[in-house]
């Protein structure tokens, strides 16, 4: 794991790393920064006393390393890195990952059939999505971006409600008000997102500060894609979060594409994780297709935030295997041969090999699980499609806590004009 420590009491090792890598100017800056000019954000105590059940990556602050990983391609763990997670936890993550992959396949078909209007697939990012959210407690809050719907499912959002949201009918919690994949799940502390890029990142800081002010043991997850790291709200959130020492974890799913724009055009920074240094925050680059690495790194960041150590920035390096959405055609702007390379790093296959090596999984269980997923999705689609349309009068609900006079009048007049 490329660990970028904010509290830059430059150790000789750190200096050596920076000098050895002259193409990373930020690392040099980090190494050269005197501790008094760097905000004391990352609690040394929290960083040096991590969760007991998670292995902690160590090493000098290096910013353009290969990302931290645990699993080799064949599913075996690198020496000394296996966090040895509880089997139930790992199987729960595996079930969730395979469910959202199955869901992608079915929902893209529904979209092509015209039964839903849009779908934003997660394919290739199931490990980053599920293993990161699994490292939080249910009481923690999730401020998601587009590809974190799996986090809601992981927390118990029903498949039927998820499908209903993509249809936008009376079973949809958001009452048909948003495009597909814009879920809301209050009991899961999963906040309804907007389509505007990056706006949710400062919200995560605010949720975290609210919890801190009230003395609640709650951490907030601020998710984003690589494109969002170019937004102004990324900057203000990183800075506010670090200055206020908010219990928040910033999680960037770097899938390397913002619709048609590759990461090289998004930033010329050696990594995204290195950006954390300038905010006085720890930045960690993780193999996002490695479930155990994502879980370990996230758990460590969550534990640190919970212990009062302030925010951490995680860059989960992954890849968007499909288009941005059902409306996108990636052959217009990228050589699809790169997909093959990343399919070889598939997070589900890699994790399955690990589970098999631990004797926790086999082909019979796999076949059974796939059948369960398909049946559950079929049932959810059937139940969701059976729901009635959103009642017309709800157009004026939830604009305010109570419907004001001018909205009542607009509704009445429109219904009159339309003949009831």
């Amino acid at each position: 794991m490329a660990t970028v420590k904010s509290k830059a009491k430059p150790k000789p090792k750190a200096k050596a790393a920076a000098v050895r890598r002259p193409k990373s100017p930020s690392a040099k800056v980090a190494a050269a920064t005197k501790s008094k000019s760097a905000p004391a954000v990352a609690s040394k105590r929290a960083m040096s006393k991590p969760s007991k059940n998670v292995l902690v990556p160590r090493g000098a602050p290096r910013t353009d390393d290969a990302p931290w990983s645990v699993l080799r391609a064949d599913g075996t763990a690198l020496p000394g890195r296996d966090p040895k997670l509880a089997p139930e936890l790992m199987l729960r993550m595996y079930r969730a990952m395979t469910l959202i992959r199955a869901l992608d396949g079915r929902m893209l078909i529904l979209q092509r059939q015209g039964r839903i209007g849009f779908w934003g697939p997660t394919r290739g990012q199931e490990g980053a999505t599920i293993a990161s959210c699994a490292a939080f407690e249910d009481r923690d809050w999730i401020l998601p971006a587009l590809r974190e719907g799996g986090c809601a499912l992981y927390r118990g959002f029903s498949l039927t409600e998820l499908v209903a949201q993509t249809i936008g009918n009376a079973l949809d919690r958001v009452k048909g008000r948003q495009m597909p994949c814009h879920y809301s799940f209050k009991e899961g502390n999963y906040v309804a997102m907007s389509s505007v890029i990056g706006t949710q990142i400062p919200h995560a800081v605010g949720v975290a500060l609210g919890a801190k002010t009230r003395g609640d043991d709650v951490v907030a997850a601020g998710y984003m894609g690589d494109g969002a790291t170019s937004s102004s709200d990324f900057h203000v959130a990183m800075n506010f979060g670090a200055v206020s020492k908010a219990p928040v974890v910033f999680i960037c799913q770097n899938n390397q594409w913002a619709i048609s724009v590759p990461i090289e055009k998004q930033t010329v920074s050696s990594t995204i994780a290195v950006k954390a240094v300038a905010y006085g925050m720890e930045g960690v680059r993780v193999d996002g297709n490695d479930v155990l690495a994502v879980y370990s790194a996230t758990k460590r960041a969550v534990d640190k935030a919970r212990a009062g150590g302030g925010p951490t920035f995680l860059e989960l390096l992954t890849f968007r295997v499909l288009g941005h959405s059902s409306s996108d055609d990636p052959t217009r702007y990228r050589d699809e041969s790169c997909v093959k390379e990343w399919e070889a790093k598939d997070p589900i296959v890699r994790f399955r090999r690990y589970l098999e090596s631990r004797k926790l999984w086999n082909q019979a269980l796999e076949d059974e699980l796939d059948g369960q997923h398909q049946a559950a999705i079929s049932q959810a689609i059937k139940a969701a499609e059976a729901a009635p349309a959103v009642p017309t009068a709800t157009i004026v609900d939830d604009v305010y806590a109570t419907v004001p006079a001018h909205l009542k009048e607009q509704l009445r007049r429109t219904l009159d004009d339309l003949g009831g």
Partner: protein, 324 residues
């Protein structure tokens, strides 16, 4: 009762509501130890500690974005934008996020918060310390927009806004922050949102206005009275949701309408008032609806006195309406 300026009434309102409701937190640029550049938050950090009133990094979208997160979590944030002219970096957070949260989540998540900001001209502030941006925000379903014009209303409306379940933009007319004093009750009290006030009763012409323009219109009404014209002034207090009934009742009585605002004329809030009256009360009108407004220019520094509506320009409009 204590005699207070509008600014002191805001400060008193914040102090009392923070005592009353421990969910209320105040933050923004320079609001902590410095008490705000106008001193509206003076003493809050001392009285309630840095957890309840604190300085933020200098980024308006961050101030509002963080406030939204706190509101989602169940706090009652009262962020300050130092001047309304600086609110635009936070426009996206206010318009796309705070205003739409309840609707887009089907009512699952809400953003009860009050964005306080001094607005308006007449203080030699040039482009960036003088503007009246209400129209941008009144075009946004999901927001409430409140503008007090007296110390009593400032405190009561502020408390009502903080207790409201929806996000409120609270525009404070900084030109009259210290210009008049009024008896203001101690402790919390409410002035209801969405209810206009008849600042002056009259039978010949209705003036609809708000904020710092109310006192300008009162002066014009005095001058008009000396010329035998009886002016009624409707002080809107809340722009969104608008008290249409108060406006229509007054126009039905007088048959003439002058709308007065500081903001540029084109596509302005005054235009909306004009349209509502034209649609719903044209049978009562004895003269064209007239607007007195700022110029459709950036806010000027040296020619501020030309830009800003004053009692003379308001009086001229009243005379045109009466003599039509």
């Amino acid at each position: 009762m204590t005699t207070m300026t509008l600014l002191q009434a805001v400060n008193s309102g914040l102090k009392d509501i923070m005592q009353d409701d421990d969910r209320v937190v105040v933050f923004g640029e320079d609001v902590g130890i410095n008490g705000g550049v106008f001193r509206a938050t003076e003493g809050l950090t001392k009285q309630y500690g840095e957890e309840r009133c604190f300085d933020t990094p200098l980024a308006e979208s961050g101030i509002i974005g963080v406030a939204i997160g706190m509101a989602l979590y169940g706090m009652r944030p009262v962020p300050e934008i130092q001047f309304a002219d600086f609110i635009f970096p936070a426009f996206d957070q206010i318009v796309s996020e705070a205003a739409k949260m309840r609707y887009r989540s089907g009512g699952e998540f809400t953003c009860p918060m009050v964005i306080r900001t001094p607005y308006g001209g007449g203080i030699r502030g040039g482009h960036y310390h003088s503007q009246s941006p209400e129209a941008y925000f009144c075009h946004t379903p999901g927001l409430k927009v409140v503008v007090p014009s007296t110390p009593y209303d400032a405190k009561g409306l502020l408390i009502s806004s903080i207790r409201d379940e929806d996000p409120v933009l609270f525009l404070e007319p900084k030109r009259i922050y210290r210009s008049t004093k009024q008896d203001v009750p101690e402790g919390v009290y409410e002035v209801p949102l969405g209810k206009a006030r008849i600042a002056r009763a009259g039978k010949d012409v209705t003036i609809v206005t708000f904020g710092a323009m109310v006192s300008i219109c009162e002066k014009a009404a005095e001058d008009a009275a000396a010329k035998g014209m009886d002016v009624e002034i409707v002080d809107l207090r809340t722009l969104l949701p608008l008290d249409e009934e108060a406006i229509l009742t007054s126009v039905a009585k007088t048959g003439r309408l002058v709308v007065v605002q500081e903001a540029p004329r084109f596509c302005s809030f005054g235009g909306e008032i004009s349209a509502i009256v034209a649609e719903k009360a044209i049978e009562y009108l004895q003269a064209p609806i007239l607007r007195v407004a700022g110029f459709d220019t950036p806010f000027p520094y040296s020619l501020e006195h030309v830009y800003m509506p004053d009692a003379k320009r308001v009086l001229a409009a009243v005379e045109r309406a009466v003599n039509f």
